[in-house]
Structure formats: structure tokens, C-alpha cells
Symmetry: C2
Subunit: 199 residues, 2 copies
Amino acid sequence: MSASPGKEPRTERGRETLRKLLDAAAREFGERGFHEASISGITRQAGTALGTFYTYFDSKEAIYSALVGDMSQHVARAATAGMSRDSNGTVREGEALAAFLAFARDHKEIYRIIDEAEFADPASYRQHYTGAAERIAARLEESVKAGVVTPGDNEIRAWAIMGMNVFLGLRFGVWDTSRTIEEIAVAAEALLSEGIAAR
Amino acid sequence: MSASPGKEPRTERGRETLRKLLDAAAREFGERGFHEASISGITRQAGTALGTFYTYFDSKEAIYSALVGDMSQHVARAATAGMSRDSNGTVREGEALAAFLAFARDHKEIYRIIDEAEFADPASYRQHYTGAAERIAARLEESVKAGVVTPGDNEIRAWAIMGMNVFLGLRFGVWDTSRTIEEIAVAAEALLSEGIAAR
């Protein structure tokens, strides 16, 4: 959770206001998109005065970048929270996917906000996905060392797994929630674990 | 390749002009994004008169939808062209991925244009990905019948494979082309074929 440089809150109350502004920004950008969203729309949704916005942020662009970074952190934390203690390998990746699907169902605005960064804030967009892929690759490295994942190119694998998760989340988390998270995660984990070629 | 309703070209020359407008639209939308792109920018890039645009399209929105549909067809054709005769199963999916990576390297604007449809033309966005997933699922069904792919939920698998391809294409096709298409496709096919769990 970060304000514009030099505008970081120093009190608990300030941090609460910053949180309120970021949550309001998620609604405003999620509902109206980057171009139509406005600072006055954000402060209206937050129930704060317009001047309060500038206490923490320099511009619409600044709060949008902060919001993308904040959502990245939320996604990362949700995935980590979904992993059971001591799990590893493809089981852990299945748990991370299930947690991400649940997160996407509860925060349907996340796709709209992060995907629009490809246009509105390309650096944040790239950082979001690069960071997520690096976390997956690090988990795979660990699992290779533990002997539960075969050695291989974990960077390519990580981007493949992230892509799987993003599109399964879009299809079965945001567009259509008629199937259970369990069945999506089980099918994806089976693919990841054993592949689909007949032997 | 489709014009606005009632404006389909009836002559070879008309089809060439329509093609020229769509190619110009790919450059204009790719370089400037949907909001900044203009009809006059498209006709300037196409080297046609402004009136020619309206012979084929009703609006900027109309040519953008036509362009997304046109690119969908191009991606589908490129993938099909990359598949060797009689290949099936995960080998065929590896060939499709390699063809898509080559296509993405040659048409780097494709991500920008198709991804912006999530905001500028959600129906076309959904149709693009739903169509691509259906093609993958149909190939998998065929491969299950041929006994080279294990039975399973081919809809979930198709969305997973499509997501893999999209993110591998973004990372190794558009952002960074320092690795060979071959090594990306080989690693992805191995994941898909045998999975990554140690046995």
C-alpha cells in the first residue's frame, strides 16, 4: 500500500484513509475504466474531501499505479494463504490456483484493473506479471531441490503456469462461476502433475 | 474479413481496399490505442480518401470489431498452418504454440489490439478467446478418440493450454525474443505431455 513519494501516511488514521482511497479507486477504475474514472469519483466513493486525495497522491495516474501494485500484493498474499503448510510441487500449485480462483470470484474487478494497465501503465503491468512468474519459478526451484518436481526450465514453466491460472480465473472465476473451484483446480493440477499424453 | 452490414465489397478491387483499411487499422490501433486512434489516421495510413472508409465501415468501433475478428482468424490460420499433417495430441499442441509464437513475433501489435477489446469491445474479446479455446478442446477430443491423450475435462484443459500460449507468447514472443521458439515449444510440450511431477 503506497502513496506518492513524500506523501506516505505516518499515523494509523492516515493509513486507514489511504486504504479507503485505494478501495474506492478499485471500485471507480473497475466500474468506469481508466479513461472515464476521475479523482472526484474516487473521493466520492471513499466519502472523503477532494483535498484528502492530494494528501496522499499526486494524480489519477499515481493512484492507479499504487492500486495495481496493491492488487499484485493481494493476489500474492491470497495465493500464499491458500498453500497448506509443508505442501510443495504440483500440489502446492493446485492450492495456489484454487486460492486465486476464489480471490478472482470475490474481486471480479481485478482483471479489468490489471489488464487495463497494459495500456494505462505498462510498467506496472509488466511488473505484476513478472513478479508473479518469479514467485512461481522460485517455488518450482524449491520443489526440484526437494525432488518432487523434475528438473527443467522453470522460467518457461512458470510463465506457462501463470497463463493457465490467469485464463482459468477469467473463464471460471469471473465470467462463469457455475463450476466448483475444486474441479477446476483438480483438473489443472492433474495436467500439471502428469500431463495429458496417453502412456 | 468483414465490412459493416450491407457494406461488404463485391469486387476484387473492393476486397483489396477493405484489406488495406484493416491493415492500416492494425497499425493505427496498435500504435495509438483505441481511444487515440482515429478514422482519419486509418485512412492516412491506408493512403485512401476519408470517404472510402465509410464505403466499408460505419464507425471506428465497427472497424475495430472487424479487426479483432480478422486477427482471430489470422491467429487460427497460423496455428493450423503450423501443424504437420497427421500430427495429433500434445505434439500438435506444441506445433500450434510454435506457430503462434512466430506469429506474435511478426505481429507484435496483436496483444495490444486484442487485449484492448476487453474494454473497447468486450463481446469481440470474449468471442476471440472462447473461439480459440473451443478449437483447442475439439483437437483434444479428437486426440482422446485417437488414444493419444488421456480422457479428461477438455474444456478446462483447453483454457489452461490457451492461457499458457498467450503468456508464453507475451513473454517470449513480444517482450523478449532472445530465446528460440523451439526451446519454448519443447519445454511447453514436455509440460503438457508428461507434466512436471517427479515419478
